[in-house]
């Protein structure tokens, strides 16, 4: 009994979190107004390089990188407010994949790699993403090469913003198990990256196909820490996507409430109808629950066991809140909700994407059932 209670995430808020919460709120609001978001939907890259550069200068990419490597030396918990406010404004820069990749590099990179690359990442001079592979992908080493690395072939799907970053952290199978390597996008042969059609129009993902691609030994990460680093990366991705969803849920509820406050039907403001008011309240309550779980996950992230429980709860609850809020958001906008011009639709699509990344609610809950009962 008590072991369950003691395994749950606890809430806390660092000064740094509060400060970052403030600046993230302001920057994301200013840099990602909805007309920009919609303009970027038709942009190949999907984000504004100047905004991305500014984010680098703000140090957001180095929040959880130790000071020795030029970062702020804070935790993932301090990166959560950034992801939350990007979600509130449907912002889609490669913040999450870059942070996940940097964290894996931090755990499993060689000293040389960490010293050479992490300071650049922290400074915003080097952007990263992950190509860790999905079910059905088959990135494999055909054999070792004279550069102390491997020749690899195969496919990795859903590489977030793969065509817009400097380096890609790839995972592939070798005779002796899974390996990680950080390769330079420039070195990829033409056509190695194909843009995929994804549900979320605000983001970009690519299919990476390699055949006989040479990975240098100096690009390989420490084989002994691969497993632990990947597990850590999963948690980082999960909590940051949870944050994006909590932020998105907040916005779509706000956006819908605004419509309910102003739109009239049958001569009455539609927000006065309980059939719309009460479900929106329910959505809001789900958001509040999710936000409590999110900041518990942020605070408990580093704790053994408890951190994992808190992150899984946060991701599951955030999906529930964002999906419901956006779904009702579409419905409550009536005919307009069924048009592409209604932002609720953008949110619903983004909610689906976010849910699929780093485990959806169903798989996190299945894991929780194992862990807790």
């Amino acid at each position: 009994m008590n072991d369950i209670a003691s395994s749950l995430g606890q809430l806390g808020l660092s000064e740094e979190q509060a400060d970052i919460l403030n600046s993230a709120a302001q920057v994301c609001r200013d840099r990602s107004p909805i007309d920009r978001v919609r303009a970027l939907i038709d942009d190949e890259a999907g984000f504004d390089p100047d905004v991305w550069a500014e984010i680098g200068q703000l140090g957001w990419l180095g929040i959880a990188i130790p000071e020795d490597f030029g970062g702020a030396g804070l935790g993932i918990g301090e990166a959560v407010p950034v992801a939350e406010h990007m979600g509130r404004h449907l912002m889609a820069v490669p913040f999450i994949p870059c942070t996940v990749a940097a964290q894996i590099l931090l755990k499993a990179g060689t000293d040389a790699q960490k010293e050479a690359l992490l300071p650049k990442v922290a400074a915003g001079d080097l952007s990263l993403t992950t190509a860790l592979g999905e079910d059905g992908d088959d990135m494999t080493a055909l054999g070792e090469n004279e550069r102390g690395g491997f020749m690899i072939s195969g496919k990795a799907t859903l590489v977030e913003h793969g065509a817009q970053v400097d380096r890609i952290l790839i995972a592939f199978d070798t005779r002796d198990g899974r390996r990680l390597a950080l390769i330079e996008r420039e070195n990829l042969p033409g056509g190695a990256l194909r843009r995929e059609r994804i549900i979320d129009d605000t983001r970009r993902a690519y299919e990476l196909t390699l055949s006989g691609f040479e990975v240098g030994g100096d690009e390989l990460l420490d084989v002994d820490r691969t497993k632990e680093a990947l597990a850590h990366g999963e948690m980082v991705g999960a909590v940051l996507y949870a944050a994006d969803m909590v932020g998105g849920a907040f916005r779509v509820i706000d956006y819908t409430a605004d419509y309910l406050r102003t739109r009239k039907q049958f001569g009455k403001l539609i927000g006065s109808f309980q059939a719309l008011k009460h479900p929106l309240v329910d959505a809001f309550i789900l958001h509040e629950r999710a936000r409590s779980h999110l900041y518990a996950a942020a605070h408990s992230f580093g704790d053994q066991g408890r951190g994992e429980v808190a992150v899984r709860m946060a991701k599951a609850q955030a999906e529930k809140a964002y999906s419901y809020a956006a779904d009702r958001g579409i419905q409550f906008h009536g005919g307009f909700g069924f048009t592409y011009d209604c932002d609720a639709g953008l949110h619903r699509r983004r909610a689906i994407w976010n849910a699929t990344r780093y485990g959806d609610a169903r798989s996190h809950k299945a894991k929780l059932a194992e862990m807790l009962f």
């Binding site: 999905e134 079910d135 059905g136 799907t157 859903l158 995929e196 059609r197 994804i198 549900i199 979320d200 129009d201 993902a205 299919e207 039907q265 049958f266 009455k268 109808f273 059939a275 719309l276 999906s323 779904d327 579409i330 419905q331 009536g334 005919g335 909700g337 069924f338 048009t339 592409y340 011009d341 209604c342 639709g345 619903r348 699509r349 689906i352 994407w353 849910a355 699929t356 990344r357 959806d360 169903r362 798989s363 809950k365 299945a366």
Partner: protein, 404 residues
């Protein structure tokens, strides 16, 4: 059209239909066909479905129960039902001209003039004349009785000014069934309405495509600027627009007969979802191996089956005596809700692959499920939102006081 010299029996007709569809249902054209008549977004889809409907009509399996003198088959509803059954059995692509076949056609047959019947019915069946529907307006979504589009009488003509929205196939349609305000000063808002069979391809009528939630097209907004139509376009008589519109909705709901037959939409079938659950991989195992997802499948199966049982039960008087209108009034709410929930559930079954959308080679079933989920909102919103449906059931079935 090829018509048998002496009327075939329903069984013969059904067998003939079965054989014909087995033979003629077209193969996958290589692009995604619309699930419903509201999703005809591309010309190639439109052309394909128009040809398909004509082909069925010419084979005699559409409009079989409509009078022969107007281009129908001159047979019985039972004959058409048998043909429709065959269509379902062979999962044919949908019929294109939905508004014509299920709304305008039955209406004209029912209360149209001799001239109107002669002029319109055959073209509806052959899909030569595409029809669209002009009920909703931008600012009065669900509030039909409040339609504001002006139809000002000038001698033998009406001058149309205003705008309609959610015009299905508006950019293709030749005619629109139009609800308009012919008398702004009537004693009540309903009495001021008239109903027209109104041409689309005339001066002063302009359509603008609407991009949907799905990213596709299928509806237009239709603008009327001093568009002049003949008073002969009236149906049901000036000032009776509300009655005619309500009657038209009854055809749509199937509460009245007269439809030409066939179907105009395909909804996700639970059996396809069962298939999906077996094949979909979640965390390295088939989704079907997850007892929690399996339990939800049982729920959906029960709900879907309850819906089809309800369609049987509603015909059994002793089993609907308490609230005879309940099942008919419920079906739209129930069906549209289930349709949305099922498509959304399918995305859960897909797990990580739910990240893909239509047109992506890596997507399961070509992204069909995500599109189906987003499209489902047209059913929970269009034709009276689910919220309004609940009011109707609460007030008309349970006799609860009005909310307004």
């Amino acid at each position: 059209m090829t018509q048998p010299s002496t009327d075939p029996s329903v069984e013969e007709f059904g067998r003939a239909a079965d054989a014909w569809f087995a033979e003629n249902v077209p193969d996958d054209p290589g692009f995604m066909l619309p699930l419903t008549f509201m999703e005809v977004g591309e010309d190639r889809q439109f052309d394909f479905l128009r040809d398909w409907q004509r082909k069925i009509y010419e084979a005699g399996f559409l409009g079989a129960a409509w009078p022969a003198e107007y281009g129908g088959g001159g047979l019985t509803e039972a004959h058409q039902k048998a043909a429709t059954k065959a269509m379902r059995r062979h999962r044919m692509p949908i019929l294109l001209n939905a508004i014509g076949l299920n709304w305008a056609g039955p209406l004209i047959l029912d209360i149209g003039t001799e001239e109107q019947k002669a002029a319109y019915l055959k073209g509806i069946l052959s899909a030569e004349d595409i029809w669209c529907q002009g009920f909703s307006e931008p600012d009065h979504g669900s509030d039909l009785g409040n339609a504001q589009l002006k139809a000002t009488r000038e001698g033998d003509e009406f001058v149309l000014n205003g705008s309609k929205i959610w015009t299905t196939q508006g950019n293709y349609a030749k005619y629109m069934i139009l609800l308009a305000r012919s008398n702004p000063d009537a004693e009540n808002k309903y009495a001021g309405l008239s109903f027209f069979l109104s041409p689309m391809k005339i001066d002063g009528v302009r359509t603008q495509k609407i991009k949907k939630l799905t990213g596709e097209f299928g509806f237009t907004q239709t603008f009327f600027e001093d568009a002049r139509i003949s008073a002969d376009c009236l149906i049901g008589g000036e000032g009776n627009g509300w009655k005619v519109a309500m009657r038209t909705l009854e055809y749509e709901r199937g509460a009245r007969g007269g439809q030409a037959g066939g179907y105009v939409s395909i909804s996700p079938d639970l059996m396809e979802i069962v298939e999906l659950a077996k094949t979909a991989e979640r965390d390295g195992a088939s989704a079907m191996e997850d007892p929690v997802l399996k339990d939800r499948m049982v729920d959906y199966l029960m709900d879907m089956h309850a819906l089809s049982l309800g369609n049987e039960r509603k015909k059994m008087m002793p089993l609907v005596e308490d609230y005879p209108m309940a099942l008919p009034l419920m079906s739209k709410l129930e069906f549209s809700k289930l349709y949305r929930e099922l498509s959304e559930f399918a995305l859960t079954l897909l797990g990580p692959k739910a990240a893909y959308y239509v047109g992506e080679p890596n997507a399961a079933d070509g992204g069909w499920w995500a599109r189906s989920y987003l499209n489902a909102f047209s059913a929970t919103i269009g034709g009276g939102t689910s919220q309004i449906q609940r009011n109707i059931i609460g007030e008309h079935v349970l006799g609860l006081p009005k909310t307004r």
